[in-house]
Symmetry: C2
Subunit: 426 residues, 2 copies
Amino acid sequence: MIKIGLLGLGTVGSGVYSILEKHSENLKSKIGTGLQIEKILVRDVSRQRDIDFDSGLLTDKAEDILDNPEIHLVVELIGGEEPAYQYILKALNNGKSVVTANKLLIAKYGQELMKLAAEKGVSLYFEASVAGGIPIIRPLRESFAANKIERIYGILNGTTNYILTKMTGEGQDLETALKEAQRLGYAESDPGSDISGADAAYKIAILSSLAYETVIDINDVHIEGIENIEPEDIEIARELGYLIKLLAISKFTADGVDIRVHPAFIPENHPLASVSDAYNAIYLHGDSVGDVMLYGQGAGRLPTASAVVADIIQAGKEIYYGSPDINGDIYKNVHKVMDISQVENSFYLRLQVKDKPGVLAKIAEVLGKNQVSLASVIQKHRQNPVVPIVLVTHQVKEENLQKSIAGFKNIGEIVAVNNIIRVEEL
Amino acid sequence: MIKIGLLGLGTVGSGVYSILEKHSENLKSKIGTGLQIEKILVRDVSRQRDIDFDSGLLTDKAEDILDNPEIHLVVELIGGEEPAYQYILKALNNGKSVVTANKLLIAKYGQELMKLAAEKGVSLYFEASVAGGIPIIRPLRESFAANKIERIYGILNGTTNYILTKMTGEGQDLETALKEAQRLGYAESDPGSDISGADAAYKIAILSSLAYETVIDINDVHIEGIENIEPEDIEIARELGYLIKLLAISKFTADGVDIRVHPAFIPENHPLASVSDAYNAIYLHGDSVGDVMLYGQGAGRLPTASAVVADIIQAGKEIYYGSPDINGDIYKNVHKVMDISQVENSFYLRLQVKDKPGVLAKIAEVLGKNQVSLASVIQKHRQNPVVPIVLVTHQVKEENLQKSIAGFKNIGEIVAVNNIIRVEEL
């Protein structure tokens, strides 16, 4: 019998509890022995809860789990940095295996925690920390182990994907789509880290660390959110054969790791373009396997719990048979992260200009001076003194694009630079 | 050092050889020890080969590998039933772990071979037997272990998917598209088992066996190929908002396992509809994880070899650390397969009828008598004595549809039943 201590009984915790109950016979046959939840850490033991269980399991003292010699496996589902970090450290130090869904901790302390687990001869698994129910951590470590991973494109945040899907399909503006996402429970009441791209940044940092076997500092990830996406951008994207997605991108290049999160134009017939609503997907390229896409629900009670329980099964087997995870040093390489100024991309620019002769020539001159060449120009003639112009560049270095934008300040006819969005041909 | 005996040095075998060479340092760090190919079984040791290697590795005697006490791991890449089956039996009996890409053997003898491996305390892995480089065997056994898998839809044959993509995108007929597939190396010179659906049937049988933990007899799988798909069908499908794909379907129902391979209409906005050319995908539904899709290259030298090498790494670790695969009895349940006559579907029917008054009433009468109700009728009026009629039914039991077709023989105005294709809303 494997005895489990559960830290947290929120959405995912209660999902894990109910899967362990519902599938207990089946899980027992898969592991060779049963799983038993011995203790559950909660903030308030007296609170009424939706699920039906022995309230004697509850405790509000972490040491009842972390210092309990009966417990083999600690499942951390509190989230956030503290006290989750201290709890995991203590569990590992006390010789317990750990399963966690905590993206922040793995992104920040993955190397330290994996090293500690190896020293203590226990396992540390975190499949649910990225993309919920989609298997990606284990495939990266095992199924694609015979590959050099060259690039990863992820739609890793369900809230923003839901919002962009609604903006695209129904012409909604961001605010309306966000409210609907909140009403449906896809977005939290404070959606800041979703909208800003920060949530996706933790996830792409974790995936890149595993893919390139290196430590990626989250502070080195260039992050832009979807705050500025307007219905006009989505409409023009579609006219040009693209959709706008919040993309997490990671490329292994000779100049370093190109890693960033930002809205991007992607071709409308690419498999990632069919990832709609709150779904997530990871599209990666390995030197042997070629292109692979893994698609599914990136959040939610049961999908996330499904990934947590898969890790519990794995850790449970290892505890039962006395054979802990053999991970070697999964962060053994040192690779620098490219500065965003050095990254090349094609860019979409939407400007408002005064409709006077010669304005396009002035824009072209500034761009030319900065080695920015244009792939296309769309100028819609409207009966207004101020008209929109859309420019799409060829591949240019980001710093040259930024210099051009700075140069636009000297062109009096440019009323506003409404938006700048990178174009990824994938 | 893990010593490997390779059976076969064809397309996949040479891919495995080159990945083991190219990634040898990296693989060593992942396993904890190096991998070394000790012997390679080939038919003709004197033949000139594309890859560069020590010809002393080659042998034409299987016993040099199977009876060689130095060899820990046998990798079977010959394919087909015999002698591959005898070789694997002997390897397992001699206490060697086995990795194979052989779908036929796993579909037919999976249970027996897994049992033998468990008895001998060795591992048997077969990730590459289904969908090449796409990780699906390991996810089914591990990542989705906390789920009851309720249905699986697969595009599991690259040749037919390539052909249907060309027929759809370029209006080619089957023969032209097949020739192009052969020219590009996507189809073999004898594409019989691809076109007929037999290849996909082995694969869906393997996936279903693992998903439901039961033995599926390949003879119980209902199989139809793409032989009869005509450009007209594809055109009408598109008008109705569908694409035609060769679908491998497996559903766990209260009446048994509904398992079949046949062409099907699928909605054009479903993620499976974006699986084009020679790509494969598996779209499955688990009770916890919800819908998941895994997409990638289902065949080819390096993608398939990538999956084989992932299995080699896993088996290699287990050999090195003395901890063989713990698989329990992965075929422990008994479930019957539904007879196709009892399966319910919506159907597309394309008929040629004489353009006379009352013909539709006669057709409707036969359908009504057999409890077949219509969702839509498309009758294109053309200036011909014989015109096409397209019918789409609601969900009906297959036997009722078949009785209706038999009843059509009594309607003199029906010149031909051109095609009957199932509609899957997914």
